[in-house]
Protein backbone atom coordinates (compact mmCIF):
# COMPACT_ATOMS: atom_id res chain seq x y z
CA UNK A 1 0.00 0.00 0.00
CA UNK A 2 1.70 3.09 -1.15
CA UNK A 3 -0.93 5.53 -0.28
CA UNK A 4 -0.77 6.83 3.24
CA UNK A 5 -4.09 8.07 4.30
CA UNK A 6 -5.80 8.58 7.54
CA UNK A 7 -6.82 5.30 9.05
CA UNK A 8 -9.11 6.44 11.75
CA UNK A 9 -11.53 9.14 10.89
CA UNK A 10 -12.00 10.40 14.44
CA UNK A 11 -8.33 11.15 14.67
CA UNK A 12 -8.57 13.33 11.67
CA UNK A 13 -11.48 15.23 13.10
CA UNK A 14 -9.86 15.84 16.43
CA UNK A 15 -6.39 16.65 15.24
CA UNK A 16 -5.59 20.28 14.67
CA UNK A 17 -5.35 21.42 11.12
CA UNK A 18 -1.66 22.22 11.29
CA UNK A 19 -0.84 18.84 12.77
CA UNK A 20 -2.90 17.17 10.11
CA UNK A 21 -1.08 19.01 7.39
CA UNK A 22 2.31 18.26 8.77
CA UNK A 23 1.67 14.57 9.12
CA UNK A 24 -0.49 13.68 6.22
CA UNK A 25 0.35 16.06 3.45
CA UNK A 26 3.07 14.81 1.28
CA UNK A 27 6.23 16.81 0.90
CA UNK A 28 5.93 18.02 -2.61
CA UNK A 29 8.73 17.98 -4.95
CA UNK A 30 5.91 18.52 -7.36
CA UNK A 31 5.23 21.44 -5.08
CA UNK A 32 7.82 23.19 -7.16
CA UNK A 33 5.89 22.30 -10.26
CA UNK A 34 2.72 23.71 -8.80
CA UNK A 35 4.50 26.87 -7.72
CA UNK A 36 5.95 27.21 -11.16
CA UNK A 37 2.51 26.87 -12.72
CA UNK A 38 1.06 29.45 -10.37
CA UNK A 39 3.89 31.84 -11.06
CA UNK A 40 3.26 31.55 -14.78
CA UNK A 41 -0.46 31.93 -14.20
CA UNK A 42 0.02 35.05 -12.09
CA UNK A 43 2.41 36.60 -14.55
CA UNK A 44 0.11 35.96 -17.46
CA UNK A 45 -2.88 37.27 -15.51
CA UNK A 46 -1.02 40.45 -14.62
CA UNK A 47 0.19 40.89 -18.16
CA UNK A 48 -3.34 40.58 -19.50
CA UNK A 49 -4.64 43.11 -16.97
CA UNK A 50 -1.90 45.57 -17.86
CA UNK A 51 -2.64 45.07 -21.54
CA UNK A 52 -6.14 46.45 -21.16
CA UNK A 53 -4.73 49.95 -21.47
CA UNK A 54 -7.17 52.80 -21.62
CA UNK A 55 -10.36 51.92 -19.78
CA UNK A 56 -13.42 51.84 -21.97
CA UNK A 57 -16.99 51.75 -20.74
CA UNK A 58 -19.62 49.20 -21.62
CA UNK A 59 -23.30 49.16 -20.86
CA UNK A 60 -24.53 46.08 -19.02
CA UNK A 61 -28.28 45.56 -18.83
CA UNK A 62 -28.92 43.55 -15.69
CA UNK A 63 -32.13 41.48 -15.74
CA UNK A 64 -33.50 40.02 -12.56
CA UNK A 65 -34.17 40.86 -8.98
CA UNK A 66 -34.25 43.26 -7.22
CA UNK A 67 -34.86 45.26 -10.40
CA UNK A 68 -33.75 45.50 -13.97
CA UNK A 69 -31.03 48.11 -14.24
CA UNK A 70 -28.49 49.34 -16.71
CA UNK A 71 -24.96 49.51 -15.34
CA UNK A 72 -21.98 51.28 -16.85
CA UNK A 73 -19.00 48.98 -16.36
CA UNK A 74 -15.34 48.80 -17.42
CA UNK A 75 -14.54 46.84 -20.50
CA UNK A 76 -12.24 43.84 -19.90
CA UNK A 77 -12.04 44.63 -16.19
CA UNK A 78 -15.47 44.43 -14.60
CA UNK A 79 -16.87 41.00 -14.00
CA UNK A 80 -20.46 39.86 -13.47
CA UNK A 81 -19.55 39.73 -9.79
CA UNK A 82 -18.80 43.45 -9.86
CA UNK A 83 -22.22 44.00 -11.39
CA UNK A 84 -23.82 41.98 -8.59
CA UNK A 85 -21.96 44.11 -6.05
CA UNK A 86 -24.01 47.06 -7.20
CA UNK A 87 -27.14 45.48 -5.79
CA UNK A 88 -26.61 43.69 -2.52
CA UNK A 89 -24.75 41.00 -0.70
CA UNK A 90 -27.59 38.58 -1.30
CA UNK A 91 -27.29 39.00 -5.06
CA UNK A 92 -23.53 38.41 -4.83
CA UNK A 93 -24.13 35.31 -2.71
CA UNK A 94 -26.61 33.92 -5.17
CA UNK A 95 -24.52 34.55 -8.28
CA UNK A 96 -23.08 31.20 -9.22
CA UNK A 97 -22.97 31.55 -12.96
CA UNK A 98 -23.81 34.32 -15.39
CA UNK A 99 -25.80 34.21 -18.60
CA UNK A 100 -24.79 36.75 -21.23
CA UNK A 101 -27.28 37.93 -23.82
CA UNK A 102 -29.63 35.19 -22.75
CA UNK A 103 -27.58 32.37 -24.24
CA UNK A 104 -23.86 32.47 -23.49
CA UNK A 105 -22.62 31.15 -20.16
CA UNK A 106 -20.01 33.30 -18.48
CA UNK A 107 -17.95 32.74 -15.37
CA UNK A 108 -18.71 35.07 -12.52
CA UNK A 109 -15.09 36.22 -12.18
CA UNK A 110 -14.42 36.59 -15.88
CA UNK A 111 -14.18 40.19 -17.17
CA UNK A 112 -16.91 41.29 -19.54
CA UNK A 113 -15.80 42.12 -23.04
CA UNK A 114 -18.68 44.08 -24.53
CA UNK A 115 -22.09 45.61 -23.86
CA UNK A 116 -24.57 42.89 -23.11
CA UNK A 117 -27.51 41.79 -21.02
CA UNK A 118 -26.66 39.92 -17.86
CA UNK A 119 -28.59 37.36 -15.86
CA UNK A 120 -27.27 35.71 -12.75
CA UNK A 121 -28.00 32.04 -12.27
CA UNK A 122 -27.85 29.86 -9.20
CA UNK A 123 -28.71 26.36 -8.13
CA UNK A 124 -32.36 27.07 -7.48
CA UNK A 125 -33.13 28.98 -10.65
CA UNK A 126 -36.15 27.94 -12.65
CA UNK A 127 -34.02 25.89 -15.01
CA UNK A 128 -30.82 25.02 -13.15
CA UNK A 129 -29.46 22.50 -15.68
CA UNK A 130 -26.65 24.76 -16.86
CA UNK A 131 -25.59 25.58 -13.32
CA UNK A 132 -25.74 21.91 -12.36
CA UNK A 133 -23.40 21.03 -15.18
CA UNK A 134 -21.00 23.77 -14.22
CA UNK A 135 -21.13 22.48 -10.65
CA UNK A 136 -20.38 18.95 -11.74
CA UNK A 137 -17.48 20.13 -13.88
CA UNK A 138 -16.12 22.15 -10.97
CA UNK A 139 -16.31 19.10 -8.71
CA UNK A 140 -14.31 17.07 -11.23
CA UNK A 141 -11.78 19.86 -11.45
CA UNK A 142 -11.42 20.16 -7.68
CA UNK A 143 -11.13 16.41 -7.27
CA UNK A 144 -7.93 16.62 -9.30
CA UNK A 145 -6.61 19.25 -6.94
CA UNK A 146 -7.49 17.17 -3.92
CA UNK A 147 -5.77 14.09 -5.31
CA UNK A 148 -2.70 16.15 -6.00
CA UNK A 149 -2.69 17.30 -2.40
CA UNK A 150 -3.10 13.98 -0.72
CA UNK A 151 -1.29 11.42 -2.85
CA UNK A 152 2.29 10.87 -1.96
CA UNK A 153 5.17 11.82 -4.19
CA UNK A 154 6.18 8.26 -4.95
CA UNK A 155 2.79 7.35 -6.38
CA UNK A 156 3.83 9.15 -9.57
CA UNK A 157 0.51 10.92 -9.89
CA UNK A 158 -0.32 12.59 -13.15
CA UNK A 159 -3.73 14.07 -13.72
CA UNK A 160 -5.05 12.74 -17.00
CA UNK A 161 -8.23 14.63 -17.64
CA UNK A 162 -11.85 14.87 -16.67
CA UNK A 163 -14.66 14.38 -19.15
CA UNK A 164 -17.68 16.45 -20.05
CA UNK A 165 -19.97 16.56 -16.99
CA UNK A 166 -22.95 14.25 -17.00
CA UNK A 167 -25.24 14.31 -14.00
CA UNK A 168 -27.25 11.40 -15.25
CA UNK A 169 -24.25 9.11 -15.17
CA UNK A 170 -24.48 9.47 -11.39
CA UNK A 171 -20.97 10.66 -10.54
CA UNK A 172 -18.36 13.23 -11.39
CA UNK A 173 -15.03 11.72 -12.34
CA UNK A 174 -11.38 12.55 -12.70
CA UNK A 175 -9.01 10.25 -14.54
CA UNK A 176 -5.52 9.97 -13.10
CA UNK A 177 -2.43 8.00 -13.80
CA UNK A 178 -0.35 6.35 -11.07
CA UNK A 179 2.72 4.17 -11.16
CA UNK A 180 0.98 1.81 -8.78
CA UNK A 181 -0.54 -1.44 -9.93
CA UNK A 182 -3.93 -2.34 -8.60
CA UNK A 183 -4.44 0.54 -6.26
CA UNK A 184 -7.38 -0.36 -4.11
CA UNK A 185 -8.06 2.30 -1.50
CA UNK A 186 -9.90 1.21 1.62
CA UNK A 187 -13.20 2.68 2.76
CA UNK A 188 -11.29 4.78 5.29
CA UNK A 189 -9.05 6.13 2.57
CA UNK A 190 -12.04 7.09 0.47
CA UNK A 191 -13.66 8.76 3.43
CA UNK A 192 -10.52 10.76 4.08
CA UNK A 193 -10.49 11.79 0.44
CA UNK A 194 -14.08 13.07 0.74
CA UNK A 195 -13.21 15.00 3.85
CA UNK A 196 -10.14 16.47 2.23
CA UNK A 197 -12.27 17.64 -0.66
CA UNK A 198 -14.80 19.22 1.69
CA UNK A 199 -11.93 20.98 3.41
CA UNK A 200 -10.70 22.23 0.10
CA UNK A 201 -14.19 23.57 -0.54
CA UNK A 202 -14.37 25.38 2.78
CA UNK A 203 -11.13 27.18 1.97
CA UNK A 204 -13.42 29.33 -0.15
CA UNK A 205 -11.29 29.94 -3.21
CA UNK A 206 -12.65 31.99 -6.04
CA UNK A 207 -12.34 30.04 -9.24
CA UNK A 208 -10.38 32.08 -11.75
CA UNK A 209 -10.34 31.68 -15.46
CA UNK A 210 -7.48 32.59 -17.76
CA UNK A 211 -6.94 32.20 -21.48
CA UNK A 212 -3.33 31.59 -22.38
CA UNK A 213 -1.40 30.81 -25.49
CA UNK A 214 -0.38 27.30 -26.40
CA UNK A 215 3.26 27.93 -25.49
CA UNK A 216 2.56 29.07 -21.97
CA UNK A 217 0.23 26.14 -21.39
CA UNK A 218 2.88 23.79 -22.65
CA UNK A 219 5.42 25.36 -20.28
CA UNK A 220 2.98 24.96 -17.39
CA UNK A 221 2.18 21.32 -18.03
CA UNK A 222 5.58 20.26 -19.27
CA UNK A 223 5.90 17.63 -16.55
CA UNK A 224 2.56 16.00 -17.35
CA UNK A 225 2.83 13.64 -20.34
CA UNK A 226 -0.93 13.38 -20.80
CA UNK A 227 -1.53 17.12 -20.88
CA UNK A 228 1.41 17.53 -23.24
CA UNK A 229 -0.28 15.07 -25.51
CA UNK A 230 -3.70 16.74 -25.28
CA UNK A 231 -2.62 20.34 -25.60
CA UNK A 232 -1.92 20.52 -29.37
CA UNK A 233 -5.30 18.99 -30.05
CA UNK A 234 -7.11 21.47 -27.84
CA UNK A 235 -5.22 24.48 -29.13
CA UNK A 236 -6.01 23.42 -32.70
CA UNK A 237 -9.69 23.50 -31.90
CA UNK A 238 -9.54 26.83 -30.08
CA UNK A 239 -7.28 28.74 -32.47
CA UNK A 240 -4.23 28.38 -30.25
CA UNK A 241 -5.98 29.50 -27.07
CA UNK A 242 -6.02 27.31 -23.99
CA UNK A 243 -8.50 28.01 -21.21
CA UNK A 244 -7.16 27.43 -17.72
CA UNK A 245 -8.94 27.38 -14.41
CA UNK A 246 -7.45 27.90 -11.00
CA UNK A 247 -8.83 27.19 -7.53
CA UNK A 248 -6.37 27.81 -4.73
CA UNK A 249 -3.11 26.58 -6.19
CA UNK A 250 -4.64 23.94 -8.39
CA UNK A 251 -4.58 24.73 -12.10
CA UNK A 252 -6.07 22.62 -14.83
CA UNK A 253 -7.23 22.83 -18.40
CA UNK A 254 -10.97 23.02 -18.91
CA UNK A 255 -13.36 24.47 -21.40
CA UNK A 256 -15.54 25.80 -18.59
CA UNK A 257 -17.73 27.36 -17.42
CA UNK A 258 -17.37 26.72 -13.73
CA UNK A 259 -19.16 28.01 -10.66
CA UNK A 260 -17.85 31.11 -8.97
CA UNK A 261 -16.33 29.73 -5.81
CA UNK A 262 -15.51 26.49 -4.01
CA UNK A 263 -17.72 27.52 -1.09
CA UNK A 264 -20.83 26.27 -2.86
CA UNK A 265 -19.73 22.65 -2.47
CA UNK A 266 -21.06 21.31 0.80
CA UNK A 267 -21.45 17.55 0.89
CA UNK A 268 -18.99 15.30 -0.93
CA UNK A 269 -18.56 11.56 -1.13
CA UNK A 270 -15.85 9.71 -3.04
CA UNK A 271 -17.26 6.19 -3.20
CA UNK A 272 -14.91 4.40 -5.55
CA UNK A 273 -11.74 4.29 -7.63
CA UNK A 274 -11.63 2.06 -10.69
CA UNK A 275 -8.77 0.98 -12.81
CA UNK A 276 -9.78 1.61 -16.40
CA UNK A 277 -6.84 0.21 -18.35
CA UNK A 278 -5.26 -3.19 -18.53
CA UNK A 279 -1.64 -4.02 -17.84
CA UNK A 280 0.35 -1.48 -19.84
CA UNK A 281 -0.56 1.79 -18.10
CA UNK A 282 -2.22 2.54 -14.81
CA UNK A 283 -5.13 4.85 -15.50
CA UNK A 284 -7.60 5.16 -12.66
CA UNK A 285 -10.98 6.78 -12.61
CA UNK A 286 -11.89 8.45 -9.32
CA UNK A 287 -15.63 8.94 -8.93
CA UNK A 288 -17.57 11.09 -6.55
CA UNK A 289 -20.84 12.75 -5.82
CA UNK A 290 -21.45 16.15 -4.31
CA UNK A 291 -24.26 18.51 -3.45
CA UNK A 292 -24.23 22.30 -3.41
CA UNK A 293 -24.77 24.13 -0.15
CA UNK A 294 -28.40 24.82 0.62
CA UNK A 295 -29.54 21.40 -0.49
CA UNK A 296 -30.61 18.95 2.15
CA UNK A 297 -30.88 15.31 1.32
CA UNK A 298 -31.64 12.54 3.78
CA UNK A 299 -28.82 10.16 4.62
CA UNK A 300 -30.78 7.35 3.02
CA UNK A 301 -31.21 9.17 -0.30
CA UNK A 302 -27.59 10.27 -0.28
CA UNK A 303 -26.55 6.68 0.34
CA UNK A 304 -28.54 5.56 -2.71
CA UNK A 305 -26.59 8.04 -4.79
CA UNK A 306 -23.37 6.84 -3.20
CA UNK A 307 -24.14 3.20 -3.97
CA UNK A 308 -24.85 4.08 -7.56
CA UNK A 309 -21.62 6.06 -7.86
CA UNK A 310 -19.67 3.00 -6.73
CA UNK A 311 -20.15 1.37 -10.07
CA UNK A 312 -17.80 2.36 -12.85
CA UNK A 313 -18.96 5.44 -14.68
CA UNK A 314 -18.47 4.51 -18.31
CA UNK A 315 -19.04 7.98 -19.73
CA UNK A 316 -16.23 9.13 -22.06
CA UNK A 317 -13.61 6.65 -21.04
CA UNK A 318 -10.16 7.77 -22.17
CA UNK A 319 -9.15 4.37 -23.56
CA UNK A 320 -10.49 2.99 -26.79
CA UNK A 321 -9.88 -0.60 -25.85
CA UNK A 322 -11.95 -3.67 -26.45
CA UNK A 323 -12.32 -4.15 -22.75
CA UNK A 324 -15.76 -5.65 -22.12
CA UNK A 325 -16.60 -3.33 -19.27
CA UNK A 326 -15.77 -0.31 -21.36
CA UNK A 327 -18.70 0.30 -23.63
CA UNK A 328 -17.99 1.41 -27.17
CA UNK A 329 -19.28 4.89 -26.48
CA UNK A 330 -15.86 6.10 -25.38
CA UNK A 331 -15.42 9.21 -27.51
CA UNK A 332 -12.29 10.66 -28.96
CA UNK A 333 -10.23 13.19 -27.10
CA UNK A 334 -12.03 16.03 -28.81
CA UNK A 335 -15.14 15.50 -26.79
CA UNK A 336 -13.30 15.29 -23.55
CA UNK A 337 -12.42 18.09 -21.16
Amino acid sequence: MTVHLQNSLWKLRTSSNALYKSVYRRCFSTQDVIEHRNRLFNNEQKRQKDNVGRIEKIEVRYLGLPSNETLIMNKNLSTPFNCAQHFSEAVCENAVLALINGKKLWDIHRPLEESCTLQLLHFKSQDPNLVNQAFWRTCSFLLGGVLQRILKENTGLHLHSFPYPSLKSGSFVHDISLNVDNWNPSAQDLKSMSIEMMKFATENHNIERLEVSHEIALEMFKDNPFKREQLPNISNQNKGVITLYRAGDHIDISKGPMISSTKYISKVKIPSVHKITKEDSNLYRVQGIALPSGFTLSAYAFDILGQRAKRLNTMYLPVESADPIHSDEAPSMQQRI
Binding site: L65, S67, S88, S125, Q126
Partner: protein, 300 residues
Protein backbone atom coordinates in the same frame (compact mmCIF):
# COMPACT_ATOMS: atom_id res chain seq x y z
CA UNK B 1 -12.99 52.14 -11.04
CA UNK B 2 -15.73 54.56 -11.68
CA UNK B 3 -19.17 53.15 -12.19
CA UNK B 4 -22.54 54.73 -12.40
CA UNK B 5 -25.94 53.26 -12.06
CA UNK B 6 -28.45 54.48 -14.58
CA UNK B 7 -32.05 53.79 -14.15
CA UNK B 8 -33.45 53.43 -17.61
CA UNK B 9 -36.96 52.73 -18.71
CA UNK B 10 -38.17 52.06 -15.24
CA UNK B 11 -41.87 52.05 -15.03
CA UNK B 12 -43.13 53.73 -11.91
CA UNK B 13 -45.03 50.61 -11.09
CA UNK B 14 -41.95 48.42 -11.21
CA UNK B 15 -40.03 50.80 -9.07
CA UNK B 16 -42.56 50.67 -6.32
CA UNK B 17 -42.79 46.91 -6.43
CA UNK B 18 -39.08 46.60 -6.31
CA UNK B 19 -38.89 48.18 -2.90
CA UNK B 20 -40.70 45.21 -1.52
CA UNK B 21 -38.96 42.43 -3.34
CA UNK B 22 -36.35 40.37 -1.60
CA UNK B 23 -34.03 37.68 -2.62
CA UNK B 24 -35.74 34.65 -1.24
CA UNK B 25 -37.70 34.93 -4.45
CA UNK B 26 -34.59 34.57 -6.51
CA UNK B 27 -35.27 30.90 -6.90
CA UNK B 28 -38.69 31.41 -8.30
CA UNK B 29 -38.36 34.67 -10.14
CA UNK B 30 -34.77 35.12 -11.15
CA UNK B 31 -35.53 34.14 -14.69
CA UNK B 32 -37.00 37.48 -15.58
CA UNK B 33 -36.37 38.58 -19.08
CA UNK B 34 -37.37 41.54 -21.11
CA UNK B 35 -40.10 39.71 -22.94
CA UNK B 36 -41.85 38.89 -19.70
CA UNK B 37 -41.41 42.45 -18.57
CA UNK B 38 -43.11 43.89 -21.61
CA UNK B 39 -45.97 41.46 -21.38
CA UNK B 40 -48.96 43.17 -19.91
CA UNK B 41 -50.91 41.38 -17.28
CA UNK B 42 -54.45 40.42 -17.99
CA UNK B 43 -56.77 43.01 -16.60
CA UNK B 44 -60.04 42.04 -15.08
CA UNK B 45 -62.98 43.06 -17.18
CA UNK B 46 -65.00 45.92 -15.81
CA UNK B 47 -68.75 45.41 -16.05
CA UNK B 48 -70.54 47.64 -18.54
CA UNK B 49 -72.17 50.76 -17.20
CA UNK B 50 -75.45 50.13 -19.04
CA UNK B 51 -75.84 46.87 -17.18
CA UNK B 52 -75.12 48.17 -13.72
CA UNK B 53 -77.40 51.17 -14.31
CA UNK B 54 -80.32 48.76 -14.59
CA UNK B 55 -80.15 48.28 -10.83
CA UNK B 56 -82.32 51.37 -10.27
CA UNK B 57 -84.85 50.51 -12.94
CA UNK B 58 -85.33 46.85 -12.08
CA UNK B 59 -84.40 46.49 -8.40
CA UNK B 60 -86.60 43.41 -7.96
CA UNK B 61 -84.40 41.37 -10.31
CA UNK B 62 -81.53 41.56 -7.85
CA UNK B 63 -81.73 38.94 -5.11
CA UNK B 64 -81.85 39.82 -1.46
CA UNK B 65 -78.32 40.15 -0.11
CA UNK B 66 -78.33 37.73 2.83
CA UNK B 67 -76.26 34.77 1.73
CA UNK B 68 -77.95 32.42 4.14
CA UNK B 69 -81.28 32.84 2.43
CA UNK B 70 -80.14 32.80 -1.13
CA UNK B 71 -80.91 30.11 -3.63
CA UNK B 72 -79.37 30.67 -7.03
CA UNK B 73 -81.58 28.16 -8.80
CA UNK B 74 -84.75 29.63 -7.37
CA UNK B 75 -83.54 33.11 -8.28
CA UNK B 76 -83.01 32.07 -11.86
CA UNK B 77 -86.42 30.43 -12.16
CA UNK B 78 -88.04 33.47 -10.61
CA UNK B 79 -86.35 35.78 -13.07
CA UNK B 80 -87.74 33.71 -15.89
CA UNK B 81 -91.24 33.80 -14.42
CA UNK B 82 -90.99 37.55 -13.91
CA UNK B 83 -90.09 38.07 -17.53
CA UNK B 84 -92.94 35.80 -18.58
CA UNK B 85 -95.32 37.89 -16.53
CA UNK B 86 -93.93 41.05 -18.08
CA UNK B 87 -94.88 39.80 -21.54
CA UNK B 88 -98.49 39.76 -20.35
CA UNK B 89 -98.61 43.13 -18.66
CA UNK B 90 -96.60 46.28 -19.05
CA UNK B 91 -94.86 46.88 -15.73
CA UNK B 92 -93.47 50.37 -16.22
CA UNK B 93 -90.41 51.93 -14.63
CA UNK B 94 -91.34 53.62 -11.37
CA UNK B 95 -89.68 54.70 -8.17
CA UNK B 96 -90.58 55.49 -4.61
CA UNK B 97 -92.25 58.89 -4.90
CA UNK B 98 -93.85 58.23 -8.29
CA UNK B 99 -97.60 58.47 -8.62
CA UNK B 100 -99.24 55.34 -9.96
CA UNK B 101 -102.67 54.25 -11.03
CA UNK B 102 -103.27 50.59 -10.58
CA UNK B 103 -106.17 48.56 -11.92
CA UNK B 104 -106.81 45.21 -10.33
CA UNK B 105 -109.58 42.68 -10.78
CA UNK B 106 -111.91 42.34 -7.83
CA UNK B 107 -111.55 38.95 -6.22
CA UNK B 108 -115.04 39.15 -4.73
CA UNK B 109 -117.07 40.07 -7.77
CA UNK B 110 -116.26 38.43 -11.03
CA UNK B 111 -115.64 40.62 -14.03
CA UNK B 112 -115.36 43.82 -12.05
CA UNK B 113 -112.22 45.84 -11.51
CA UNK B 114 -110.96 48.21 -8.87
CA UNK B 115 -108.49 50.97 -9.46
CA UNK B 116 -106.41 52.96 -7.02
CA UNK B 117 -104.33 56.07 -7.48
CA UNK B 118 -101.58 56.84 -5.01
CA UNK B 119 -98.00 57.77 -4.36
CA UNK B 120 -95.60 54.88 -4.10
CA UNK B 121 -94.17 55.05 -0.60
CA UNK B 122 -92.17 51.84 -0.51
CA UNK B 123 -90.76 49.10 -2.69
CA UNK B 124 -89.86 45.95 -0.89
CA UNK B 125 -88.69 42.38 -1.30
CA UNK B 126 -87.34 40.78 -4.40
CA UNK B 127 -88.20 38.37 -7.16
CA UNK B 128 -91.79 37.24 -7.51
CA UNK B 129 -92.36 38.39 -3.95
CA UNK B 130 -91.60 42.01 -4.74
CA UNK B 131 -94.18 44.43 -3.39
CA UNK B 132 -94.92 48.09 -3.46
CA UNK B 133 -97.19 50.26 -1.37
CA UNK B 134 -99.43 53.06 -2.65
CA UNK B 135 -100.75 55.80 -0.40
CA UNK B 136 -103.47 58.33 -0.88
CA UNK B 137 -105.78 60.37 1.28
CA UNK B 138 -109.39 59.90 0.29
CA UNK B 139 -112.17 61.69 2.16
CA UNK B 140 -109.64 62.80 4.82
CA UNK B 141 -108.77 59.22 5.46
CA UNK B 142 -105.23 58.04 4.74
CA UNK B 143 -105.23 54.80 2.77
CA UNK B 144 -102.28 52.59 2.03
CA UNK B 145 -102.50 49.50 -0.11
CA UNK B 146 -99.65 47.05 -0.57
CA UNK B 147 -99.63 45.23 -3.87
CA UNK B 148 -97.56 42.35 -5.16
CA UNK B 149 -95.84 43.60 -8.28
CA UNK B 150 -96.25 40.27 -10.05
CA UNK B 151 -99.79 39.59 -8.84
CA UNK B 152 -101.69 38.05 -11.78
CA UNK B 153 -104.81 39.90 -10.64
CA UNK B 154 -103.26 43.20 -11.61
CA UNK B 155 -104.65 44.32 -14.92
CA UNK B 156 -102.83 47.55 -15.52
CA UNK B 157 -100.16 49.70 -13.95
CA UNK B 158 -100.01 53.29 -15.15
CA UNK B 159 -97.43 55.84 -14.10
CA UNK B 160 -99.16 59.21 -13.74
CA UNK B 161 -96.09 61.06 -12.59
CA UNK B 162 -92.61 59.64 -12.81
CA UNK B 163 -90.31 61.16 -10.22
CA UNK B 164 -88.08 60.33 -7.30
CA UNK B 165 -88.04 61.72 -3.79
CA UNK B 166 -85.19 62.47 -1.44
CA UNK B 167 -85.65 59.28 0.58
CA UNK B 168 -85.76 55.59 -0.24
CA UNK B 169 -88.93 55.08 1.76
CA UNK B 170 -91.76 57.57 2.26
CA UNK B 171 -93.37 55.75 5.14
CA UNK B 172 -93.06 58.97 7.12
CA UNK B 173 -95.94 60.35 5.02
CA UNK B 174 -98.19 58.53 7.50
CA UNK B 175 -97.22 61.10 10.11
CA UNK B 176 -96.89 64.04 7.75
CA UNK B 177 -99.61 66.54 7.11
CA UNK B 178 -102.25 64.96 4.82
CA UNK B 179 -101.67 67.49 2.04
CA UNK B 180 -98.39 65.74 1.18
CA UNK B 181 -100.07 62.47 0.36
CA UNK B 182 -103.31 63.72 -1.11
CA UNK B 183 -103.50 62.95 -4.79
CA UNK B 184 -106.24 63.72 -7.23
CA UNK B 185 -107.89 60.47 -8.25
CA UNK B 186 -108.63 61.76 -11.71
CA UNK B 187 -105.15 63.00 -12.32
CA UNK B 188 -103.95 63.12 -15.94
CA UNK B 189 -100.66 61.35 -16.71
CA UNK B 190 -97.64 63.62 -17.13
CA UNK B 191 -95.49 62.45 -20.00
CA UNK B 192 -91.70 62.78 -19.64
CA UNK B 193 -89.32 63.20 -22.52
CA UNK B 194 -87.71 59.85 -23.32
CA UNK B 195 -84.11 59.23 -22.34
CA UNK B 196 -84.01 62.13 -19.90
CA UNK B 197 -83.05 61.85 -16.27
CA UNK B 198 -85.74 61.08 -13.75
CA UNK B 199 -86.57 64.34 -11.93
CA UNK B 200 -86.07 64.37 -8.19
CA UNK B 201 -88.86 66.02 -6.22
CA UNK B 202 -87.16 67.78 -3.31
CA UNK B 203 -90.29 68.51 -1.32
CA UNK B 204 -89.60 68.74 2.38
CA UNK B 205 -92.68 67.62 4.29
CA UNK B 206 -94.00 68.97 7.56
CA UNK B 207 -94.95 66.48 10.23
CA UNK B 208 -98.06 66.29 12.33
CA UNK B 209 -97.54 66.68 16.09
CA UNK B 210 -97.07 63.58 18.24
CA UNK B 211 -97.89 60.73 18.48
CA UNK B 212 -95.82 59.28 15.61
CA UNK B 213 -95.68 55.75 14.35
CA UNK B 214 -91.89 55.61 14.34
CA UNK B 215 -88.99 57.58 15.75
CA UNK B 216 -88.48 59.53 12.55
CA UNK B 217 -85.89 61.80 14.11
CA UNK B 218 -83.45 58.90 14.40
CA UNK B 219 -83.67 57.84 10.77
CA UNK B 220 -81.73 60.63 9.15
CA UNK B 221 -84.50 61.51 6.71
CA UNK B 222 -83.80 64.10 4.07
CA UNK B 223 -87.32 64.84 2.89
CA UNK B 224 -88.54 65.92 6.30
CA UNK B 225 -88.36 69.33 7.96
CA UNK B 226 -86.19 69.80 11.03
CA UNK B 227 -87.83 67.59 13.62
CA UNK B 228 -86.21 69.12 16.69
CA UNK B 229 -89.10 71.47 17.31
CA UNK B 230 -91.35 68.47 17.88
CA UNK B 231 -88.99 66.81 20.36
CA UNK B 232 -88.83 67.23 24.11
CA UNK B 233 -85.51 67.15 25.95
CA UNK B 234 -85.67 63.46 26.74
CA UNK B 235 -86.26 62.52 23.15
CA UNK B 236 -83.47 64.80 21.98
CA UNK B 237 -81.10 63.11 24.41
CA UNK B 238 -82.23 59.72 23.22
CA UNK B 239 -81.61 60.75 19.64
CA UNK B 240 -78.01 61.61 20.43
CA UNK B 241 -77.61 58.44 22.46
CA UNK B 242 -78.79 56.19 19.66
CA UNK B 243 -76.95 58.00 16.93
CA UNK B 244 -74.25 55.92 15.29
CA UNK B 245 -72.02 58.20 13.21
CA UNK B 246 -69.48 55.37 12.77
CA UNK B 247 -71.93 53.35 10.74
CA UNK B 248 -70.96 55.05 7.51
CA UNK B 249 -67.41 53.77 8.01
CA UNK B 250 -68.51 50.19 8.58
CA UNK B 251 -67.38 48.87 5.25
CA UNK B 252 -68.41 45.30 5.82
CA UNK B 253 -71.86 46.18 7.08
CA UNK B 254 -72.32 48.09 3.85
CA UNK B 255 -70.92 45.19 1.88
CA UNK B 256 -73.18 42.61 3.47
CA UNK B 257 -76.24 44.64 2.46
CA UNK B 258 -75.34 44.94 -1.19
CA UNK B 259 -75.17 42.85 -4.32
CA UNK B 260 -71.75 43.32 -5.83
CA UNK B 261 -71.09 44.87 -9.20
CA UNK B 262 -69.93 41.58 -10.70
CA UNK B 263 -73.07 39.78 -9.58
CA UNK B 264 -75.29 42.57 -10.81
CA UNK B 265 -73.76 42.55 -14.22
CA UNK B 266 -74.14 38.78 -14.41
CA UNK B 267 -77.84 38.96 -13.58
CA UNK B 268 -78.63 41.91 -15.82
CA UNK B 269 -76.68 40.56 -18.78
CA UNK B 270 -78.85 37.46 -18.46
CA UNK B 271 -82.12 39.40 -18.73
CA UNK B 272 -80.91 42.36 -20.78
CA UNK B 273 -81.96 41.23 -24.26
CA UNK B 274 -85.29 39.77 -23.33
CA UNK B 275 -86.45 42.65 -21.19
CA UNK B 276 -85.58 45.16 -23.90
CA UNK B 277 -87.55 43.13 -26.39
CA UNK B 278 -90.56 42.99 -24.09
CA UNK B 279 -90.44 46.73 -23.49
CA UNK B 280 -90.29 47.34 -27.22
CA UNK B 281 -93.35 45.17 -27.78
CA UNK B 282 -95.33 47.06 -25.15
CA UNK B 283 -94.30 50.36 -26.68
CA UNK B 284 -95.50 49.32 -30.11
CA UNK B 285 -98.77 48.03 -28.69
CA UNK B 286 -99.36 51.36 -26.97
CA UNK B 287 -98.57 53.22 -30.17
CA UNK B 288 -101.05 51.14 -32.13
CA UNK B 289 -103.75 51.73 -29.51
CA UNK B 290 -103.17 55.49 -29.63
CA UNK B 291 -103.44 55.52 -33.41
CA UNK B 292 -106.85 53.88 -33.44
CA UNK B 293 -108.22 56.46 -31.05
CA UNK B 294 -106.82 59.49 -32.76
CA UNK B 295 -108.25 58.60 -36.16
CA UNK B 296 -110.64 61.35 -37.26
CA UNK B 297 -114.09 60.07 -38.03
CA UNK B 298 -116.06 61.11 -40.98
CA UNK B 299 -119.60 61.99 -40.05
CA UNK B 300 -122.23 62.34 -42.70
Amino acid sequence: MLRKICKVNLIQNNLINSQYVIFRHLSAKAELNEAAESQEKKKTKKPKKALTDMRFKYPEFLPQPDNRLRNPVLERIMRKDMLDRRTQINIPEFYVGSILKLTISDPHSQGKTNSFVGICIQRDRTGLYSKFALRNVIDHQGIEVMYDLYDPAILKIEVLKLEKRLDDKLIYLKDALPEYSTIDVNMEPEILAEGGNIPVNDTVVKMKPFPWMQKWERQGLKGVEDLDKHLNLWRKQQKVKHDSPWDKYDLMKEYRKTITEEEQSEIFSEIFNRINKINEQHKQKAKAARRTISKPQNIG
